[in-house]
Amino acid sequence: MSSSHEGRFVTIYFNDEAFKVPEGLTVMKALEYAGIRFTHGSGCRGGFCGACPILYRLPGDYKFRVGLACQTAVVDNMRISLIPYVPVVPPKIKRSDVKPSPGYVIALFPELTRCVSCNACSKACPQGLSPMDAVQAILRGDLIKAATLTFDCISCGLCSLRCPAEIRHYLVFRVVGRIVGLFYTPKVKTIEHRIKEIKEGKYSKALETLASMKPDELRKIYDSYLKSGRLPEFLEVK
């Protein structure tokens, strides 16, 4: 190793193969340092997209630990597995059939009733949510509570992987979130107003003109907007 790495090194095991990597890196950076190329299981690298969940264990501890590869720092002798995808098959949903009722959600995802509140899902959540409480809320008919509890779900699927009831959590939560959005969240008045304007054709002419322009003409408009902060007259719809 070159002298530029003056820090200490740790050993990590990825798919049971040992790699020596600098201390202080995230698992993702460490694996890249070790020469592993991410073609899957990497996304925003900012801890938000949910593409890089990992399962790992630490020496001297039977506990399964979970995290995101881009957020978890390496620990000496940790054993890591990447879980880029947990298979779930989404049910077909017709907008006209959607009902704001727990019965509808349970009919789509009958496995929900198999929840025994073992809490394995919550222990597996890298976001620190409680999928168990959300599932239980659905079972007792409180969709709003379920949607609120799972608002920060990043759809990594680790909970579904650990669930003895084989619940498809993140699909369930996505459907519940949308039902709550459709039926319970207050509608934003300004959006209704804007939709009305669009339907009445207020912006159609400007849009058509813009769409018919050639790339270099668009570039000119863009550059002059950057300079002056003003749009050409035909785009200033009042």
Binding site: S101, V116, S117, L139, R140, G141
Partner: protein
């Protein structure tokens, strides 16, 4: 004021909100403060009773642990249930430590990551037990006497079996009859009052439910009843749904609806065509 911790259960919260509302009004009229357990989980219902699978008991056990902590803050040790299934499961889970120490240790060991294991001290009661203890006070609340109404009390299984959790004599229970008498009604004795309605076979083998429910209702009609009152949401659902005799005129009502009518909370006249808002 007497304080009770309250475990609603999923059915009551999802499909029987009217029963919950009426029960709460009734309890408040009897002078009780009822506080819902801050975090409760599905008791496990049917599967935790029938299967020898300890993981199925985790929900009930977790709930007891949380309730136990909250009970100390509220200085009460009583958990009230409205649903006979929840009563049965919680009651059995609460005696696990004494009756099945091996199972208790396993469940507690599994749960210790999340909650402190429940170590006894809570008393699980069903609404019917509470009402039997409050007969005198209940009598004072009666506004519309049910005089002349011949009502058959249908218990179902969960309040009476197994024997060690029964709220009354499992062979010939009389608790609900006592309540009905206080309301002014005439309780009708009939031989099938503890016969199983078919319970969860309603999901897979509805013929069983149809056969049993029809038998129960026919027997109540033969005994001269015009109303069947049951404290169990599932029995109510099954009896209402699967017997052709219900069409013929006999009404199957939740016990709480009958009481609510008698004490002037809401009228059962509207409930003759009571539908369950299942979807």
């Amino acid at each position: 004021m007497k304080t009770l911790l309250y475990y609603p259960g999923c059915s009551i919260k999802k499909d029987f909100t009217d029963i919950e509302k009426a029960s709460m009004s009734l309890l408040s009229a009897l002078g009780y403060t009822v506080i819902e357990i801050e975090n409760w989980y599905c008791c496990g219902g049917f599967s935790s009773i029938t299967l020898l699978d300890h993981v199925k008991q985790v929900g009930a056990f977790r709930t007891l642990s949380i309730a136990s902590k909250q009970s100390i803050k509220l200085s009460t040790n009583t958990i009230l249930t409205l649903c006979p299934f929840c009563y049965n499961v919680l009651k059995r889970a609460s005696t696990l430590q004494v009756n099945e120490p091996g199972v208790y240790r396993r469940v507690a060991e599994y749960l210790k990551d999340d909650v402190e294991p429940y170590s006894g001290g809570l008393s699980i009661i069903h609404l019917v037990e509470l009402l039997v203890a409050e007969l005198d006070n209940l009598k004072k609340l009666v506004k519309n006497s049910l005089k002349g109404l011949r009502i058959a009390a249908y218990y179902g299984c969960m309040l009476l079996r197994p024997k060690n959790v029964a709220i009354d004599n499992p062979e010939n229970p009389l608790s609900i009859e006592k309540v009905l008498e206080v309301l002014g009604a005439e309780p009708v004795d009939f031989p099938y009052k503890t016969y199983c309605c078919g319970a969860f076979h309603t999901l897979g083998e509805a013929e069983i439910v149809s056969y049993n429910s029809t038998k129960i209702i026919k027997s109540a009609i033969d005994a001269g009843a015009t109303i069947i009152a049951t404290p169990c949401p599932l029995c109510l659902y099954n009896l209402q749904r699967y017997s052709p005799y219900v069409e013929a005129g006999i009404k199957v009502l939740h016990l709480v609806d009958v009481i609510a009518h008698a004490i002037g909370l809401h009228s059962i006249n509207k409930l003759i065509n009571l539908k369950i808002n299942s979807k």
